[in-house]
Amino acid sequence: MFRPRTLSILMEELCRLPGIGEKTAQRLAFYILRTPQERAQRLAQAIVEVKEKIIFCSRCRGITEADPCALCTDASRDGGLICVVEDPSDVFLIERTGVYKGLYHVLMGALSPLDGIGPDQLTIDALLARVERGGIREIICATNPNMEGEATVLYLARLVKPHGIRLTRLAHGLPVGGHLEYADEITLSRSLEGRRDI
């Protein structure tokens, strides 16, 4: 089938996005084609800017435009509490529940030998550095409720426990084997409140 080269390129790029197959890519591409020039421009600009301006916070490794991020510098938050998550997007999931008032630490994944992800590929050293600086009472592990997330918690337990810090895990009720993003806000806030010690 004949298709202008530029359109094909756009479709191919859209196709690389998660959850987008060929049909959806085609629909999106034609939608963009019909859209007014300035709106298409804004979309393109937004994509370029997000890549240029967003950086990782040097303290929590979450995403931010200014370093350190707004969460890390917010004096009203409890600096004695760190919630450990796998992915920067998990921070927003937990923030949305509105029940958590501590700080975060983003691991950038979970221990998965099959994917070649060991402790060195994660931000575990940075977490330990924060622990050693002192002032932390509790670390809440909010890694995904699957094998890799659980093995990561067991690994952290060995490193953190000797510092006399309380280590907790989100309560049951989260979708087993899945990801945090599949949990709704109510389930997530409940499992934060009912967390258990490891």
Binding site: L111, G118, P119, A151, L154
Partner: protein, 393 residues
Amino acid sequence: MLLEKLALHRFRSYHDIDLVFPSAGAYITGCNGSGKTNLLESIFFLANLSSFRTNNREELRNWDAAQGIVKATVADRYADRQSELAVQLSAGTRRLWLNGKETRETREFTSRFTAVAFHPGTLQVVRGGPAGRRYLIDRGITSLHPGFVRVSQDFQHVLKQRNSLLRTSTDTGFLAAWTERFITAAIQLMRARWRHAELLNSILSAELLQDLGSDIGTLSLDYRPAILAKCSTQQYERLLPTNGTDAPLREHFLAEAQRLQHAETAMGQTLFGPQRDDIAINFCGRESRGYASQGQQRLVVFLLVAALALGIQRQRGHRPVMLLDDIVSELDARNREIIFTFLKTHAFQTFITATEEREQFDDLNSLARFQVQRLNDQTTLRNDMPYAASCTH
């Protein structure tokens, strides 16, 4: 549970068939290669979403078709509920429909219909290595507790992760974390196998073998966890996690992990755990591995399938459909008698295949009779007995 209607579209050698079955079941005859096993396989697949003879779902779709469909009306008399189930198979995907609505809830789907199968391919399990027996037991547990699929998948996954870790890293903390997770998954799997062996043994000894006549002899499963292979009987009793705490077993696992650490790193492989278990089948006071005759193997596998059917009835509160593929060949009159006695006593809806019409099935004359034929490379079925159709109302 009853299979009331079955429609196949491009499943294996079937192009389009539409069948109605009476509550007794059906007796299906036809030449070799005509499509008898394919028919039972479609029923088994509907219940278990897996086949009893292949792990490759792609084989189930007709070779020349992009899409295969198994569709059925099933009834649960106890729950007074009728459900329409449909599975659609196309390259790389499997989609499910429950009562006309597409669903992703595999467990809800498989809870509507249960089937157990005797398949000649399973016979080698009795005489062969432990892998086949583990597979047979684990599949049985899944029929009893659909949630076991998760336990088994978790275990396989954590085992793969740990093996990969042993090949790629020497970080002991990293290994210790995965070892702990491995032990948790291993104990869950072992506990399920223990309970299953206990259940089947209690059914075999207290119910099944007595009902069928004392001259059958004894049949029991002896679950042998590899991790406890070198334990004395006393130690063994103490380590069983069946009575509450699994702390002693965890400790034992950790000690094994410690002892084997060098060997494991050298080989890049997990050297302990339930992936090495065996479940011995003891028939008439002897382990049947290596010695059971063809006929004895058939009888043993049939009795295990029958015990599973009774176990499902006892624990899940409904009666599974029995699929007996090619069961009567190579059986002497006495063993055949045992099987028919079971079928008559318990009256599960039963689907039996055989290569030829045999008069002994007159005993089971409430079965609908179908003749399978191969024409122009597709399989067709002829309903042999006019009264069978009238039984369905």
